[in-house]
Symmetry: C2
Subunit: 447 residues, 2 copies
């Protein structure tokens, strides 16, 4: 898309410490190419390019870096340089930075903020983590209903320059309560002497600052808007959230769900840059937890050792049978976790979906039963019936467990994605062992 | 957010067939409330409300319905009503509809389009499925660089009314080649007599019509834009894609990945509305496929039946050991599938990440080995060493398989998400059985 022809030239200038030429070239380059260039540079060289950039461009490029990269760069900049950079950052990016940097770095930055920005940052930081308040920026433009369109447009021309977006203009009363919002274009299309209240339709979507940020994502999707006003409990307009930030939220939430369904504690940072110790800690907890689930299968087998000693051929089908129950369960739980996350089904739908799952699982169970009978007929005809019957039952039970667990977790206030494939598989293993040997004992007249 | 006080009133009017009052109430209601109302109504009643709506509102409400609901509603509308509705739909929504409805319904709709819309629909449909071309709308506003800002704004006022968005204005040459794009606000802030070319920075992000739609999502995210211009190979501006459609694309792609990692064939439709037969077919293929993977574990166990007969206590730990290898593998593959999907790592990173995975997996393996030794010390001290050593090796192998499989799939042009937890678990089962009994034979001096 954008050329990165600049790179070798820039690296040469850094090598030769030729700051004035570097400054000149950068000032004349299209902003997006400069941002791309910085993302591409070795980390150690970035600070030189940053120093040579015009201030607004430096702030923009900074916003595009990952947190770890921002942290590294801030360590390289002097206090004076950092102060300038912070002042130029949009408030929402500044909040994000203060929120996520290590404690000591945050303290240094707060000390470098000018008094107004400091107050704003502290205010924004007062909202709970993952709330809409943490995402919002006060960078909007508001007008009054009694103004003429001409007055409103003058106001927008005067104050709209440095705002995050003016695609949507907010109409507020004297107490800053939101009355309506309107797309900028409708003001442009209106006669200059018309009143703002004439373009109002008194219908707008908004979100409360203390709500979960996922609600903002779903509202933006529902109403196809690129900006959403954020209100306090009294209807006062506090700020706006923009779709570009919400796209990032959506990706972060999806990544959390992905990690959970793979039974990894959500990383909430780049996988690429994660340290060995961090990855170990995010994985080991669930694995050890699952060992304790599987201890029950070990216990169950220990109970049936006599049965196994009598018909040792039963062991042949053990992994196949318990694995199939787990696989069917993993399918059912994945379908449900995703349907709950997208709002396709909700927590009250369990009973209504149960009948459908039973029917599908029964059909799958019959098919799987036939498949394993075909395999078993050659290998071990003496246990054929036990194996087919077990297959049917474990597929049915695995599916029911997999399908129900996400609802159960939602009910107790946990994330449904905790019903990970490995967790369902492990529970299905225990169930499978018990079912298999119980049927075997009964059929073979043992126990 | 929005009140649905209207609903009982509307239902009563439908009951009493009081169309004129219904028409009046609906025309006076805020559009978003009407849309919410229709989404809430029983399907059979929707057609009555639709008939009573002003045309533009009917089209907007229609766009918010799910495909199945649109299909049902179209069956209830007369040809004349359908023709009006189609004419009022934005072109991109019309393409989506034509693309996804059953063949016969599409043919009926194409016959009802007016000649201009028909040509447009056919043209839009010429782009490959899931390409940017299928998402784009020609509803943009373009201006010329030599115009004054005042001329440009007049043009926008004249032609911008019914366009999807005019937040971003496109600047093209006499051959419709895109020269630049600019936010509407920068034109408003400029002096009326300035030239459009004075606000140009000759730097813009764009996407080719034949590219995968996922590229458009990543570009919009990268450049924080709400609209992206779509070009042909000659740089001619064909249309635009908007962030609201891209949010839907992102969700659809994520759902596909989710289903794949749960080893379900992607549904590509609502789970809630899916039929029993459809769900069966989406699940059974993978399950049968996994049975054939697990036949190898059955085969491996059959080979070692003598070993099991000699030390039947080995069976106790079988599900625990092969399950743990599978769980570690599922973690590794999930992390990798998601990191590849977000672009956090790319297909060439395999070798670089291999060393890290080995180190993390080794540490996890040692911990798991200690955990299972603690369990085994009580249950079966005679096989303690075999069990601990096996645990270490299966965790290591499972992690390597899980981590590598997504890369391998990418290499052969498949979706990395095919490396589902159940697939990795089943492969780890086979590996685990072989490792366990090989070590047991060696340690116990058998075989």
């Amino acid at each position: 898309m954008l050329s990165t022809l600049l790179k070798p030239e820039i690296l040469e200038l850094i090598q030769s410490r030729d700051w004035s030429v570097l400054r000149e070239i950068l000032a004349d380059s299209p902003p997006q190419e400069v941002v791309d260039l910085i993302l591409d540079l070795p980390k150690a060289d970035r600070v030189f390019v940053f120093r040579a950039l015009p201030r607004d461009l430096a702030a923009e490029a900074f916003s595009h870096l990952a947190l770890e990269e921002q942290d590294a760069l801030l360590r390289d900049l002097t206090d004076g340089e950092t102060r300038h950079l912070l002042a130029d950052l949009p408030p929402d990016d500044r909040t994000g930075l203060l929120e996520e940097l290590p404690g000591q770095a945050t303290q240094r930055l707060l000390n470098l903020l000018d008094p107004g920005d400091l107050e704003e940052a502290r205010w924004l930081l007062g909202y709970p983590e993952e709330s809409v308040g943490r995402l919002m920026t006060p960078d909007y433009v508001a007008v009054r209903p009694e103004w003429t369109v001409d007055q409103a447009l003058s106001h927008i021309r005067r104050f709209g320059h440095d705002r995050e977006t003016i695609n949507r203009i907010f109409i507020v009363d004297e107490g800053s309560r939101l009355l309506d919002d309107v797309e900028l274009r409708w003001l442009i299309f209106e006669e200059p002497e018309a009143r703002v209240e004439d373009v109002m339709d008194h219908s707008f979507a908004s979100v409360a600052a203390f709500e979960d940020r996922e609600l903002a994502v779903s509202l933006v999707r529902k109403y196809d808007q690129t900006v959403l006003p954020v209100l306090d409990s009294g209807g006062v307009l506090l700020g706006i959230v923009t779709v570009d930030d919400l796209l990032d939220v959506q990706e972060a939430e999806v990544t959390e769900d992905f990690h959970l369904v793979g039974s990894v504690e959500p990383l909430r940072q780049s996988f690429r840059d994660a340290s060995l110790g961090f990855l170990y800690r995010r994985r080991i907890g669930w694995l050890i937890g699952l060992v304790f689930v599987n201890v029950f299968s070990a216990g169950a087998i220990a109970v049936y050792l006599d049965t196994i000693e009598t018909v040792v051929a039963l062991t042949i089908f053990l992994p196949l049978l318990i694995g199939s129950g787990g696989n069917a369960g993993a399918q059912a739980s994945t379908l449900m976790v995703r349907a709950l996350a997208t709002g396709d089904v909700d927590a009250t739908d369990w009973f209504r979906l149960l009948g459908r799952e039973l029917a599908v699982a029964a059909a799958i169970g019959v098919t799987m039963s036939a498949a394993v009978a075909a395999v078993g007929a050659i290998r071990a005809p003496e246990v054929l019936l036990v194996v087919s019957l077990t297959m049917f039952i474990v597929v049915l039970l695995g599916s029911l467990i997999g399908m129900s667990m996400p609802f159960l977790l939602t009910r107790i206030g946990a994330d449904p994605a905790v019903a990970s494939a490995p967790l369902i598989t492990s529970i299905a293993d225990v169930t499978g062992v018990v079912v298999y040997f119980t049927i075997a004992n009964w059929y073979l007249g043992l126990g």
